[in-house]
């Protein structure tokens, strides 16, 4: 399996995502100005502050040449994972429902959070038993998930809410404690916390590794 990690000017966690993805396969960094996705099996839109996140997080990055290819790739069923800023970019690009607003506490906040895996049978969570708790760091200034009531209801009905903050852990004010959602087709997933920063006991927990293992199973399952 080969994972491509996007690199925008202003990306910060792209190398971290690459290190994590390298634990389950090959990796390549994809430059924002290039359209060629280099035959990757999965794409990660990483964390950071693409284009400075000026105006609105993710607002400018979604128009980059590489995102045109990613939108096409996702349309063809390719796996796309958006982490933090990547989640924001995917929402702005319309690949995921909803939007991410400035945190309710008005501050950039770093915290190790506990997430509940709501949907354990997605392409991104198949390695997690449903209901499993993951300890993963979150760090962002605009992570308050918002969608209108009707959309929220529909997301819950269709099993598109993949991970939720545990009680007391939702510091950003996300509606219904939503930490991550997938698209209707199930091949695009975005979340605010950083699974790539939870893949090594030396630097924290290893709970995030499950997400990457799930992606590998999805890709390799599809290949056989």
């Amino acid at each position: 399996m080969k994972t491509g990690i996007l690199r925008f000017p202003g990306s910060c966690d792209e190398v971290d995502a690459q290190l994590a993805a390298a634990l389950v396969g090959d990796t390549v960094l994809l430059w924002h100005g290039d359209r060629d996705l280099q035959d990757v099996d999965a794409v990660i839109v990483p964390g950071g502050f693409s284009y400075g996140d000026y105006l609105r997080a993710g607002a400018i990055a979604r128009f980059s040449p590489v995102m045109e290819s990613v939108i096409e790739f996702a349309g063809d069923g390719g796996l796309v994972l958006g982490i933090c800023n990547g989640f924001q970019v995917l929402c702005e690009a319309g690949l995921l429902p909803g939007a991410l607003l400035p945190n309710a506490n008005r501050r950039f906040t770093f915290r190790q959070v506990e997430l509940e895996v709501v949907e354990g049978d997605t392409k991104f969570t198949s390695a997690c038993p449903p209901g499993e708790l993951l300890s993963i760091p979150a760090k962002h200034g605009s992570g308050r998930f918002y969608a209108d009531e009707a959309t929220l209801n529909q997301l819950e009905e269709d099993g598109q809410v993949v991970v939720r903050y545990r009680p007391e852990q939702n510091f950003n004010g996300s509606l219904r404690d939503i930490a991550g959602v997938r698209n209707a087709a199930g091949n695009v997933f975005g979340l605010m916390p950083h699974p790539e920063h939870a893949v090594d006991a030396l630097t924290g927990s290893t709970d995030g590794l499950r997400i990457f293992e799930s992606i590998r199973s999805a890709v390799e399952g599809a290949h056989v």
Binding site: A59, L101, P102, R106, A147, G173
Partner: protein
């Protein structure tokens, strides 16, 4: 021509910044201020003002969460 786009959080969406300003005012001795909303002010020089609608809805505002309003400023009034 100089133009101005006012971008506001949609009604019904929590605006924590606005709430914070509202909360800070009484301590500074200002009473009687309410319903504070904080948004973005974009001012620009544009050759073809007909494009402003598209620029605003595609880039300057996210229609899911924000409303926008376009004001054309005649050149004399421009700063």
């Amino acid at each position: 021509m100089r133009a101005r786009v006012l971008v506001r959080p949609k009604q019904g969406i929590l605006d924590p910044q606005g709430v914070a300003v509202e909360r800070a005012l009484p301590a500074l001795g200002f009473k009687g201020v309410s319903d504070v909303r904080i948004g973005r002010l974009v001012e620009l020089e544009i050759e073809n003002p007909a494009e402003l609608e598209a620029i605003s809805s595609q880039l300057l505002a996210n229609p899911l969460i924000e409303d926008f309003e376009i004001e054309l400023l005649d050149d004399a009034a421009a700063a």
